[in-house]
Amino acid sequence: MSHPTHDTRQYLLRLYVAGQTPKSISAFANLKNICEEHLQGRYQIEVIDLLINPTLAKDEQIFALPTLIRKLPEPVIKIIGDLSNTERVLVGLDIKVLAPEHGLKNAQP
């Protein structure tokens, strides 16, 4: 609740997937929607296919797919799944929402 209204931080998000699976496609779509709604203009999404860059899986400590890593702002945060549960994604990525009904949830992490 320290930044009640304006979050101006830039988000760098990396989505790790393994090929074009239904889960990876829906994860990307879900992420895109959330970002458009809550982080318009201050986010960047990189999709990394581990089938092409398998070494990154070890380097980034990835075991479940899809995995989303928030590289920025610090600290680095990792969340798992196809991002279909928007509420959990917002909590997980620590995205301040403007709508008042989400205000209580924000205090939790």
């Binding site: 393994a18 479940a64 799944g81 279909s84 994604v89």
Partner: protein, 571 residues
Amino acid sequence: MQHLLKTPTGIKGLDEITDGGLPKGRPTLICGGTGCGKTLLAMEFLVRGATQFNEAGVFMSFEEKPEELSSNFASLRFDLNDLIDQKLLSIDHVKLEPSEIEITGDYDLEGLLIRLDYAIDSIGAKRVVIDTLEVLFFGLNDEDLLRSELRRLFSFLKSKGVTAIITAEQGEKTFTRFGLEEYVADCVIFLSHSVSHQIATRRIRIVKYRGSAHGTSEYPFLIDEQGFSVIPISELTLDHPASNERISTGILRLDTMLGNKGYFRGSSVLVTGTSGTGKSSLAAHFVNASCARGERCIYFAFEESQNQIIRNMHSIGINLNQWVEQGLLKFQNTRSTLYGLEMHLVVMYKLIDEFKPSSVILDPISNLVETASKPEVKYMLSRLIDHLKTQEITALCIDLTSSKEEKEGTDINISSLMDTWLLLQIMQGSGERNRGLYILKSRGMAHSNQVREFILMDDGIQLRDVYIGSGGVLTGSDRDNQQAKDKAEYLESKQEIERKQREIERKKAMIEVQIASLQNQFEAEKEDLLRLINKEKLRNELLLQDQLDMSKLRQADPTPKSSNSSEGSYQ
């Protein structure tokens, strides 16, 4: 049907009880409680694979970090970093912090498979370890998903053709807490770590091995600075070789008692006796003789330290230290209570396999009872003796009998396992305790039935005959006394005889003197008589002549001379 291919683990004993190793190209589950050695077994599988079979391996760790693994295994002389540099090992630590995991929708564990796949392909691994999968259950908390993903993981491993070890924590009533055994149908190995009599024993058991013969017993195993060793305790077999070769007991007269040659090579010898009867000294003689022949010997001592034994044997003139220095004699001094019976067995087997002795001493086996029940000790000893016999190693077991009542028995009832049984006993009397030795049995050879007195001298054991005579069986100073007395008696009677003989001589001489004087007397009388006779004859002749002269003068008729002349000729 195709023969089941196996991947040897290279771990001492494990390949024997699995009849060749783990199922090749398939996962094996290793389960057990905390601290039972799962991780060690798994890692050793990879290290031995790399060093002995030139097969690279991947270690996927959910618990320990590579640095932790390296330092843990450095104490076991496994240089993991070196193997990693040689591309024979790859360690991948999967960090799973349940508190940091936020699930936002459907997912799978493809990431793990990608990591494994990459790690396997990058070094051409043939062996894989996953240690331990349970962490996933704690971290992800979605059993249904995990179960389907695990199935996928196992089929992935099979498709990669790697021989894998999956470790899992023991469950309360199941082998693994999350029932992983249902996915791994080929081979399940269970490790346990039990404590009885306050002594811990590690055991390994092959719960299941599809399509393969395997030992079903619980086998004790040991973790020491050389890693894991399982001792394949063979079932009791009676097909060991029987040598005809005889070896000296180290005591000449004892050899004589044992058919003039000593023990059979590869036989088991039991020496029983109460405390202080000289059992260890007897053993030391045997050790000394063995080493002098250039043979190796291990002395398992459960009571005394190496230095103590060497010092004590020095006092009877046996220098064991020289054999230790020459590498022929090895002492293994352990308190019998240090670890469980099976661990003792494991340690012994291991040492025997390494040192390859021709003979071993167990001093005393009775101490082992402290750690277990008598039937267990008997079972253990029979396995040990069995093992020694198959390798033609002569075993000399010392048994301290506690009570005097049961002299012809052992506290552990192992006499039936023994080929030769020497009994040392105290013979008490006249305020003395003397040691006696006799052979209770000795299979396959003629042996003395005599009790011998057994004396510890500066230069070793001496066997002496016991006194068997008018005074009964005597030993020690009694025997010496009796012998002195006998000797005195003998001397006395000998002198008596000599005295009598001298008397005879004297009498004979005396009589001879008498005879001589009588002879002289006789000669003298004879001479006198002869002289008289001659005188008479002369007189008669003169008389006759006178008569002839007279008759001539008187011119008488000639008269017959016969009556007169015959008188004279008779003298």
